[in-house]
Symmetry: C2
Subunit: 114 residues, 2 copies
Amino acid sequence: MNTTMLNAIAEPNRLRIVELLRESPSPVGEIATKLKLRQPQVSKHLRLLSEAGLVRAYPNAQQRIYYLQAEPFKELDRWLETFRKVWKDRLDNLNDYMKELKEEEKLNKKGAGQ
Amino acid sequence: MNTTMLNAIAEPNRLRIVELLRESPSPVGEIATKLKLRQPQVSKHLRLLSEAGLVRAYPNAQQRIYYLQAEPFKELDRWLETFRKVWKDRLDNLNDYMKELKEEEKLNKKGAGQ
DNA sequence: TCGTTGTATTCATATATAGGAATATACCTG
DNA sequence: CAGGTATATTCCTATATATGAATACAACGA
């Protein structure tokens, strides 16, 4: 998994931008207005998101309409998949661990009490 | 979606730690050895991961065995789900946008040629 | 061409944090 | 209790970056 992508969405305002673009493509000014951010900051965040491959833009007169790219999200999804696969077994193992742990605690208390 | 969780895995070494713990629970020293990191750094990263709710530890003598928590990953999965839902429609819309754009370009070129 | 609108960039500053070194803390064994 | 092992914390420094302010750049309309 790519930390560039994760880093891009780990910043609160960028996450909000992404969630806004999830609803519909938007020009920079509209993003700034809706999220109550200043335009230069939005442009900078979009630059980072763009470099991370999360968004693209197409020009419409002076505007630049930004929209999401699917691929990075799919990559994140594939990464999560590797966790889902292991998850069930792991939880079982964990329960075993915890049971063992509890048994040990009981034994220790018994031992201490002697 | 929670940026604390994202921030936690956005750091390369922490991501490696998470991926290592995905294989099996491990004590700090083992993580340090396998990832060729210094022990204090690993402890610090684990602290952050712990505060973000991604890991927990149970004691085993002097060791602390760290293991992953499922919930934050499930939350991330649910967040991604909101994208998957929109994805298909969005791609169609995008195609429409792009078609419109291309049409506009053609018209502009025609106009410029006059 | 000029003014306007929309966006990007540059520069400076403040803040956050990753890493190194040293040390503290906790627990085990003899 | 002493020594050893495993982990956590503290202090310091360097680096990254989010923000604000000012400005540059680009494209439109009159």
